[in-house]
Symmetry: C3
Subunit: 151 residues, 3 copies
């Protein structure tokens, strides 16, 4: 193991980073599931085995598929910055308790965000869960820039 | 602080990585601003509180919202690779002056890219700013692969 | 060079990470090539120099451009998680042979995925190459979480 992996804050970062990246990756099979169950595909080769009269009808977008794709996109826009900034944040040597607070709140907010998005829960549930995750990333960025600033 | 954070090149990388990720993250509130000001939403639950006759009209795409979203997408396609390659590049021990040149040019080019995209400045302002950032990432990748190659 | 760059597993990670990020970045010039050759642009300023009667016709989407863009998006959804999890995986000190197997299979699967997607090869070529890359990332995530778990 690299020496970094003996640092508790870095280990905590590693754990939560792996969890939120796994969560994000699972949006891909979820999109595939909705594409098959709703019959909505994006590529001609994906429907080549269907009877020819059905093919055109299957090359369409479906609201449920688009919803899952927007959720996946939102993960890309939020989870990737969290992991990148979180890595730098963990290297600035924060208190373990402060770091865990950031990581746990972020992971919880993004899991709830997915439930709120895919389940179409009434607003402001999705907006609030997005906002909480966003603020965690901003807070870590602030710590990083206030500890390390070489312009 | 981790020993890495005592290395000046890594501190410079950390600074500019945090700045460009922050810039990218700010595209999300900018999208929200344009969604509200232009009245163009993507989800039914986002317009549930509006009078029912207005709801359908608000579930639409608007050119200004789409423009900000394309800019955000372009950031994802360019800033994320910069941060990932830049991390590896910083670990290969480049000269501080060379590293700072890469990081400053990239950050400047992406900030100008956003202004050119959202402000719809005449081409080739956006194309050139994109190209400059792209070449910085290619240059860092070249350095990484020429210093470290284990296939 | 940072001490990390004397570790063979980390050097192998660095090599393959740079390769797959370069591959992903090359989707942008490929998109530009298809936009120009197919005459399909997204922004008014991109067609401002064309005769005014042609402009509206050029502001359209084209199936070939959309295909390359979906391929780029799929790279973002798969290559970025690979690099992020792969970095953590390399730090957990796996055997060099096991690490190289993961990295090589992933890089090969994503290069083939691009060929299958842009070339519209018959399914399940694209689905299988996607699945192989996906399983590599899951396997590395599993190793990371089984070695390092601080919740």
């Amino acid at each position: 193991m690299a020496p970094l992996m003996e640092d508790e804050v870095f280990m905590a970062f590693t754990t939560y980073a792996a969890i939120v990246i796994l969560k994000m990756s699972l949006m891909a099979p979820m999109t595939a599931f909705f594409r098959f169950s709703r019959g909505a595909f994006a590529n001609e080769e994906d429907v080549a085995l269907k009877p020819s009269e059905e093919r055109k009808k299957l090359l369409r977008s479906h609201p449920d598929v688009e919803r899952v794709r927007r959720c996946h996109q939102n993960d890309l826009e939020n989870i990737v910055p969290f992991v990148l900034v979180g890595l730098l944040y963990a290297l600035t040597g924060p208190e373990l308790s402060a770091a865990l607070l950031h990581f746990r709140v972020f992971a919880g907010s993004r899991i709830f965000h997915t439930i709120a998005y895919v389940g179409a829960l009434p607003q402001p549930s999705r907006a609030l869960s997005w906002m909480i995750g966003f603020l965690v990333t901003i807070s870590m960025s602030y710590r990083v820039l206030s500890k390390v600033l070489v312009l």
